[in-house]
């Protein structure tokens, strides 16, 4: 624990700074001291309203969404024993996107769209779960391939919808597909999911380390591999669904944030999980603040920003000599 203490403190500071920046920047000018005032000594007024009703929910939604994606990616990379696993590998984003796009086509509002996305994501999870966890057969490659095949099918359906949809709706659809936090709504439930799943993951972190060495290895040291795999699958699915309902299919975070933390020298899950959550949340909060402000009043889809910011950072980490 002591070895990565500086890293933990640095990431905690970065998380606080990113949330502060998310409250500070926006179309309505607010001074840094006013932000602090409003956080610690709330006084009703315009500033207070902008911070607490507009920026804080959005900032928390971004943080929770990033944390959930990083958590889900970390869990799935252990479950599938595949470094290229990401939260969407199980077809969750495909199912959610299809649901959301169908709702958009039918002219539904934001709440209806989120419900449709939720239904689509759950349907995809049920299909993958039903096909790959049958009869106690827990071959991880079967789960992986089932998810990939399902995702491919869903993305074909999504392309089809984009082609036949009326021109006026395509813009909104593309925003959803690239990931966008504008319609996130109240993020408090997602924060609870994030905190709960992170704590659960830390409590099972040694089991995750062992499962990373293989099912037999984990079993030989007394881990009930079957229950653990099922638990990881369900936790990752829940985290992904929560993230997708908040912000659509935001790429990059779930796949690469866990690797970024590993490249910083953290391998065991007791530290990897919370650090990935912190880094993922911080990263998405920064990206979303930029998405809101760089071309203001034009809003960019945050998914574009995550890749534009993340790719150079990741390449730098990869190129660093040890």
């Amino acid at each position: 624990m002591s070895r990565s203490l500086p890293l933990i403190l640095a990431l905690l500071a970065a998380a606080a700074a990113s949330l502060f920046a998310a409250l500070l920047f926006g179309t309505f000018p607010i001074a840094p001291l006013q932000v602090l005032d409003s956080v610690f000594f709330p006084v009703p007024g315009v500033v207070h309203d902008v911070i607490w009703q507009l920026r804080a929910p959005r900032a928390l939604a971004a943080f929770a969404c990033g944390g959930l994606l990083a958590l889900s990616g970390t869990l799935l990379q252990v479950l599938l024993r595949n470094p290229l696993a990401d939260p969407y590998i199980l077809g969750v984003s495909g199912g959610a996107s299809l649901g959301a796009l169908a709702a958009l086509t039918l002219g539904a509002g934001a709440a209806m769209m989120n419900a449709a996305a939720l239904a689509g994501a759950l349907a995809a999870i049920v299909v993958v779960f039903g096909l790959s966890f049958r009869r106690g057969d827990r071959n991880v490659y079967r789960i992986l391939l089932t998810g990939v095949v399902l995702s491919t099918g869903l993305s074909a359906l999504i392309s089809l919808m984009l082609v036949i949809a009326p021109q006026a709706q395509v813009q909104g659809m593309l925003f959803w597909l690239m990931g966008d936090l504008s319609y996130a709504g109240d993020p408090s439930w997602a924060c609870l999911v994030l905190v709960g799943l992170t704590a659960l993951g830390i409590a099972h972190s040694t089991r995750l380390d062992l499962l990373g060495l293989g099912e037999l290895k984990a079993q030989s040291l007394g881990v009930g591999a079957a229950q653990l795999q099922l638990g990881i699958f369900l936790s990752a699915a829940l985290a992904t669904v929560a993230a997708v309902v908040l912000g659509g299919a935001i790429g990059f975070v779930g796949l690469l944030i866990p690797h970024a933390v590993r490249l910083l020298g953290v391998a065991n899950h007791r530290q990897l999980l919370p650090l990935a959550v912190l880094l993922g949340g911080t990263f998405l909060t920064v990206a979303d603040t930029l998405a809101r402000t760089v071309l203001a009043p034009q809003q960019l889809p945050v998914g574009v920003l995550t890749a534009l910011l993340g790719v150079p950072g990741m390449l730098m980490l990869l190129g660093r000599r040890r």
Partner: protein, 254 residues
């Protein structure tokens, strides 16, 4: 300690060994010998509760393996697998500490006892200074010793070792066998290991289990089971026998 009564092992489409009956007692060192694909690893997995067997019963201290929780079983039986599915990305010490999972008291982290046990285990295999190194920087033989350190940290009553000597040089092969003989003699642990080398079983093992290609099994005291005739039949090749002091050694006659 562990008794097998008429167990039969098979893989899809093939019976590996039939009606195997033997029991392992504290202080004994067993060698499992057999040709490639004869079922040695399948037997280790079945005895360790990691794989199924078709018929018969395996009892650990009078209870079936499936009963009781798996962490308690892991405090009784340790299995050194022939291979691991993935590499470990942390330090050598972190790797060995994973062997303490069956003993762990808290999910917050390892206790100082756990760390002491892990460091002592590393010292036993001559890797004490390697503790902070990354596991991936170790050579094949060093990794094998780290794996052995991990099972030493696990400290089970019964060690089931699948090819414990793989990748080890001669000196470390001898050191590892001496270490397990000491654990058997002094601490009353039991050891069962898959060996391929006919150099060692005659010198270190009290008992041997021979698995033949036709599925028949011969189990008994090493002095009775290990001789030129039985080994020639087992491996299906002619052997030369050398007698040196109290030991008898066999080499293929090629």
């Amino acid at each position: 300690m562990l008794s097998c009564d008429a167990i039969t092992l098979s893989v899809p489409g093939r019976v590996l060994c039939r009606d195997m009956t033997f029991s392992i007692e504290p202080g004994q060192l067993w060698a499992i010998l057999g040709a490639n694909g004869s079922g040695k690893t399948t037997l280790i997995h079945a005895l360790g509760g990691l794989g199924p067997y078709d018929r018969g019963t395996v009892l650990l201290n009078g209870a079936t393996l499936a009963s009781g929780d798996s962490r308690r079983r892991a405090r009784e039986i340790g299995v050194l697998l022939q291979q691991e599915d993935a590499v470990f990305w942390g330090s050598v010490l972190d790797y060995v500490l994973l062997g303490r999972f069956p003993h762990a008291q808290s999910w917050l982290g390892w206790s100082s006892e756990d760390e002491q046990a892990a460091r002592a285990a590393l010292a036993e295999v001559g890797l004490a200074e390697f503790a902070p190194r990354r596991y991936t920087t170790l050579s094949g033989g060093e990794r094998q010793r780290a794996r052995i350190a991990q099972i030493l940290a696990q400290a089970p009553r019964l060690f089931l070792l699948d090819e414990p000597l793989q990748h080890l040089d001669l000196r470390h092969q001898g050191a590892v066998l001496t270490l397990f003989r000491r654990l058997a003699r002094d601490q009353g642990r039991a050891v069962m290991m898959v060996l391929h080398d006919t150099l060692w079983p005659g010198r270190f093992c009290t008992h041997a289990l021979l698995i033949h290609d036709d599925g028949t099994v011969r189990a008994g005291a090493a002095s009775e089971v290990l001789n030129r005739g039985s080994l020639e039949q087992l491996y299906g090749c002619r052997l030369q026998e050398f007698v040196q002091g109290a030991g008898r050694y066999f080499l293929p006659d090629v």
